[in-house]
Symmetry: C2
Subunit: 320 residues, 2 copies
């Protein structure tokens, strides 16, 4: 089968053997989405070698332990825990120390004709959710997951820094909880994608008026400078939610976190079920985030496109 | 009067005018303690110029709005808020944006014959608390204040990194809450100061066995490497309490905070009243932390001594 792989510092479309794991479900991938993490992996993040990609929708072809899934359209939780440790037993395999992660750690990913995952990781997609929407379940779960880490009330003042795909989903998610949601970015056209969502959009250059205004700031710009600016925006004792993963070490003024008694909350993943419900209930708009769709055969070109300025979600469609 | 001052990049004992503020209490300083922050200020931290020092015990000589304090032995909350902003009105002048801070920001400090503070900042010292003990109220309040920021239960696994003065007070404070307190440092003799306090002491070189073990780690070493090591020790979703303030920017692997969904809690100050009670109830031992006492006249030498390896608290006694 075809797969988009990062190996020996090189990204390429390769022909590999179709996976065949008796104890996992086999999923024929229909569409996959390119995430910034895919791009970071190709710069060395997470030391991953193999098929990249972790946002997908597909159809189950084989699932020995869950025959009801066969033929169903599914999305899949990307962390596969050992199933035995205390974290897994507490339903938190997202943090299992021996976990593999689809297309990120120890497990081939979704930019391929087929993938495998434990059947317990798969969730059926409701009929009213399109394939295009379903590809967004993983990043939307990560965005909406913030609400399980940080209490947000209607009067909580929240800023989201970064008008890319993840920032957009964070802004939309948190605007469901807060009536004071400010979405800050560099690009008027990207900010305008949330029009009508109960969100105040602010160009970065104008956000300097908003210093020490916010109870919660979400850093989703992926830029090193985003961290310092988030500190600028926060009230004392505020909460800085850190969403971006990027390769390398950032410099930061630790004393500012101490003096203002800021809480920095690292935030990676979220649960899939609430994200699917948000899409089913039309509470989050995702289709306007799609910039372009390529065939898997053009995967290398699609990745290059995803890295270009101004581009939002690049999708891959997989035709067998 | 005499005062130990940092001005124009130079630390010196100077003769300055005795302060005279009608709307503040005048305190004759009896003893003061040298804090690492004093040393950091002399390296440029906080951009402070003036009399340094913020740990003290003294006797009130004048207090127009609180005559009952006159002649009483007091300690003093070091943050003086504007008294008018929302934070001050909510009894949180420690974060007032217009605050001055004794010997740290906009206000001459305690290594002097006299200081002034608003009388509302002063707390009477109970008779059973010695002057030497009372000097520790400020750092003890900062250490015990962690318990107001992070929930610690008897079965919470806690590590404190850094066997200096602040680390010692953090370890003792948190051992009052947790039955699993590990105190990690480089110096056997410093670690031994907490003998009999329900604390497990661990040399840094042996702590490498404890990776991913702790729910809460307090970084009080003041070293840049302490942050990374704290991340090594934490379980996923653990809490890293950051106590050290030092000049400059540290490099950190932000992605580790995101991937393990760590919460970093900046922690600076605490309330004085609970700290005074801990000393009154003999729940915290502080006198064995005193390495040496100098007269204010020898303040420059005392500061040099405080910076030497192996030295714990250096005190100044002020005789008029």
């Amino acid at each position: 089968m075809k797969a988009l792989r990062f190996e020996n510092d090189e990204l390429k479309l390769a022909e590999i053997i179709k996976p065949n794991l008796e104890n996992e479900a086999l999923v024929r991938v229909v569409k996959s989405g390119i995430c910034n993490t895919d791009i970071e992996i190709c710069k060395g993040y997470a030391d991953f070698q193999g098929t990249i990609g972790h946002e997908f929708v597909g159809v189950v072809e084989h699932a020995a332990d869950a025959p009801d899934l066969i033929g169903k359209t599914v999305v899949g939780e990307i962390n596969a825990g050992c199933g035995k440790c205390q974290l897994c037993l507490n339903d938190d395999s997202r943090h299992c120390p021996n976990r593999t992660v689809l297309g990120i750690a120890g497990r081939d990913g979704a930019h391929a004709e087929f993938l495998t995952l434990p059947s317990r990781n798969l969730l059926k997609v409701p009929e009213t959710v399109s394939n295009e929407q379903a590809v967004f379940v993983e990043p939307l779960a990560a965005a909406y997951g913030i609400t399980e880490q940080v209490e947000i009330f209607p009067d909580t003042c929240v800023a989201v820094i970064g008008d890319g795909k993840l920032g957009n989903l964070c802004a939309q998610s948190l605007a469901l909880e807060s009536n004071h949601l400010y979405f800050i970015g560099k690009h008027k056209e990207k900010l305008s994608l949330v029009a009508g969502c109960n969100i105040e959009t602010v160009l970065l250059e104008d956000a300097k008026k908003l210093l020490k205004t916010f109870d919660v700031v979400v850093e989703a710009s992926g830029a090193e400078s985003g961290f310092e600016f988030a500190l600028d925006l926060l009230k004392p004792r505020g909460k800085l939610v850190l969403k971006s993963t990027f390769h390398g070490a950032a410099k930061w003024q630790a004393w500012r976190v101490v003096v203002d008694e800021i809480t920095v909350v690292g935030s990676r993943c979220g649960r899939f079920a609430p994200a699917l419900r948000l899409l089913e209930n039309k509470q989050i708009a995702v289709e306007n985030l799609i910039s372009e769709e390529f065939n898997l055969n053009e995967g290398v070109r699609a990745m290059a496109r995803a890295e270009q300025k101004g581009v939002m979600k690049v999708m891959l469609s997989i035709t067998n």
